[in-house]
């Protein structure tokens, strides 16, 4: 008999006994949040590197581990370790998984995803996750993780907090709204008592007209990318924080170090002092360090930096390389001796300067740029 496990209910315990290597028990994972995903089939082969990265990012965001229960295999994901796969498909495993799915009321509603907090309480439940248009089961899993993250984490108050911490953060406001918000599409919410001293969120500050988040398109490394940003977002923060292109570095945020150097329409600029909104497509084309190599083929400057050891910690390196590229293509470099002056907008605190200059001079001599 199927009964849907509701948000707020205790997550049914289970132990997978049929796994040859070691038994996997929900209770043993208690103490940290666990995401349980059920699917008819799941294969890690379908999870490419990007997908894996996304899953890990979500697990970090939730502070959780993930157990994927499929009839043919079980997978245990932790954010910073290799995935453990128990894929010796056996009739016993299939039966065990079916029984657990029944306990969670989703044996006919797969894929399904549940977030269980550290005390074993279900905080998020979604059944019949759409796999059409989500890139198969694996894609659907990421989408569901995303939904779970938004529901339990945003905007004011994490539902994964356990009671002790509610007290500690008594001055944090606005969690009730979040709670209701987060649970709207998840069946019956089970309200938590408000923390002492907590109050409803005060009204937000009035913002100047037109200053809300805006959808813009940035043409980065030849690809149009959509981002929803507030006009304050620098080009640097846009690529690092919103476009998952953290190759461009922040060393000062004030134009004083060059770590953020990117090319805008082929000219090197400091991305920290550039508003992303002002470099949107079609006004500008942006090139970052991630756009230099073609597939496995490194750009000549990248090769030269490796060969000459033009770095130590590597933090200034993307900026140095982009600046060198700009310098060589902008056409104002007089001679090798001039490289030092023309590269002086890029600080290397590790002091790799002589090697950086050697790398650039080599590329120049070989006319590779």
């Amino acid at each position: 008999m199927t009964h849907a496990i509701a948000v707020g209910a205790s997550a049914p315990d289970f132990t997978l006994r049929s796994l040859s290597a070691s038994a996997l028990a929900l209770r043993a994972l208690r103490g940290r949040p666990v995401v349980l995903a059920f699917a008819d089939t799941f294969s890690i082969g379908g999870a490419n590197a990007d997908l894996l990265r996304e899953i890990r990012a979500h697990l970090r965001g939730l502070g959780a581990v993930l157990v994927v229960l499929a009839k043919s295999a079980v997978f245990y994901f932790r954010p910073d370790d290799d995935v453990e796969a128990f894929d010796d498909a056996s009739p016993e495993l299939a039966r065990e998984v079916r029984d657990i799915a029944t306990a969670y009321g989703c044996e006919r509603a797969m894929p399904a995803l549940f977030v269980v907090d550290s005390e074993g309480v279900v905080r998020f439940a979604r059944r019949n996750v759409d796999i059409q248009g989500a890139g198969g089961v694996e894609g659907a899993l990421v989408a569901a993780l995303d939904a779970a993250g938004r529901a339990v984490l945003s905007p004011k108050r994490s539902l994964l907090l356990t009671r002790r911490e509610w007290v500690v953060t008594g001055l944090v406001a606005g969690f009730i709204l979040a709670f209701v918000d987060g649970c709207r599409d998840n069946g019956a919410p089970s309200p938590m008592p408000p923390a002492p001293g907590a109050s409803a969120a005060p009204p937000p500050l009035p913002a100047p007209p037109g200053s809300g988040d805006i959808d813009v398109t940035l043409n980065v490394n030849g690809t149009d990318r959509q981002v929803r940003i507030d006009p304050r977002v620098s080009l640097l923060d846009a690529v690092r924080e919103r476009l998952a292109l953290p190759g461009t570095k922040k060393g000062c945020d004030h134009g004083q170090c060059g770590a953020c150097t990117v090319l805008v329409d082929g000219m090197r600029v400091n991305a920290c002092l550039t508003l992303a909104i002002a470099t949107q497509a079609p006004w500008a084309k942006i090139t970052t360090i991630e756009g230099l190599a073609t597939g496995e083929n490194l750009h000549p400057l990248q090769r030269a930096f490796i060969a000459e050891d033009g770095f130590q910690c590597g933090y200034c390196t993307p900026g140095q390389i982009m600046s060198a590229l700009g310098m060589l293509t902008e056409g104002h470099l007089k001679n090798d001796a001039d490289i030092r002056e023309q590269m002086s907008g890029n600080i290397c605190r590790c002091g790799a300067y002589p090697n950086i200059v050697a790398a650039i001079a080599g590329v120049r001599a070989r006319k590779e740029v």
Binding site: P208, G255, V269, L273, L275, R340, E341, S344, G345
Partner: protein, 326 residues
């Protein structure tokens, strides 16, 4: 950074109309504005991006040259009309900031860049320029980079521009447009010393836009030179700089320009130094005399007293190099 609305204008009149509103700041390269907004020194509620305005040309203007306000520092510095005919301007620009910043920075923005006084850049510190009447901690605090010329008891902030020093030496004129139409402001009148109102830095009125700068042909433009002295070999503001230009004929200086940077509250034309030069042969002796004259009236403080001697030598050296170069 405080939230703001962003708009990009493609027509000058539209931009000027926006500029009348309260809390509006124009945006060009952003290397001053965004920097100061992130520090909380500038807090506009609207940023009007000027970069789509057709104000970027650099072209001949009679015997002189006209430089669009949005031309970048790089474009100006390397432009054939400038590099040959106005070496001091090209040299000054290339001694400033970094190649990246010069690719962003515009001529208009450069003229309007604000002081690097550390107290000014820290909103948690008092500062008469930022907050009238709050006091000037630089007077008796750490003032190594501050000014010795054009100072007042309200403010001793150095004007940091290299380009403006050269433009003043070249008798350039700043052209602005506002509600009341066009105005032409000679460089000598464009920047103002702090006096008792350090917040007022230029002759620009609210909402006005710099459209271009004209640099006339002059007998001394081509024989001009910029020397900048700083704490490291590159990517540093001037501790002292000098833009000099000489018109020498028949072995005698007919006219001269001596403008100091890095030591004054505005680009500082040293007319007394020029007077020392005119009518005399260009010799080391008169150069030293010009240097001495240039710093007459300087007001040194605890950490910047060295600038008196340094500025003196900068002027003499710039002149020596200039004559040596020719």
């Amino acid at each position: 950074m405080k939230p703001f609305a962003y708009s990009r204008e493609t027509g000058l009149d539209h931009a000027l109309a926006r500029g009348k509103e309260d809390g509006v700041r124009y945006l060009a390269g952003g290397t001053t504005l965004i920097d100061l907004m992130r520090l909380g020194v500038e807090e506009p509620s609207t940023v009007v991006d000027l970069r789509a305005l057709p104000l970027r040309d650099i072209k001949a203007d009679g015997d002189g040259v006209q430089i669009g306000a949005l031309a970048t520092n790089t474009e100006v510095a390397y432009h054939p009309l400038i590099a040959k005919a106005y070496p001091v301007l090209s040299e000054a620009l290339l001694s400033g900031a970094s190649p990246q910043l010069r690719n962003m920075a515009s001529v208009g923005g450069n003229l309007l860049q604000r002081t690097r006084c550390s107290y000014f850049r820290d909103p948690s510190s008092p500062c008469n320029k930022r907050m009238a009447g709050s006091g000037c901690p630089a007077l008796d605090g750490y003032n190594r980079s501050n000014a010795i010329l054009g100072v007042s008891s309200s403010c001793i902030a150095t004007h940091p521009s290299d380009m403006a020093v050269a433009l003043l030496a070249l008798d350039a004129v700043v052209h602005v447009r506002g509600g009341g139409g066009e105005r032409a402001v000679p460089m000598g009148d464009f920047h103002v010393a702090p006096g008792s109102t350090p917040a007022v830095e230029t002759a620009l009125q609210k909402g006005e836009i710099i459209t271009h700068v004209t640099v006339p042909a002059s007998p001394f433009a081509q024989r001009s030179h910029y020397v900048k002295v700083r704490d490291r070999a590159s990517y540093a503001f001037a501790l002292s700089s000098a833009a000099v230009a000489l018109d020498v004929s028949g072995g005698v200086v007919k006219s001269a320009r001596v403008v100091l940077g890095g030591v004054a509250t505005k680009p500082w034309r040293a007319t007394e130094a020029e007077a020392e030069l005119v009518g005399k042969p260009p010799t080391s002796m008169s150069f030293d005399a010009a240097g001495a004259a240039a710093v007459r009236g300087a007001v040194p403080r605890t950490h910047n007293a060295f600038k008196v001697e340094l500025a003196k030598r900068t002027v003499a050296r710039a002149l020596r190099d200039l004559v040596g170069k020719a």
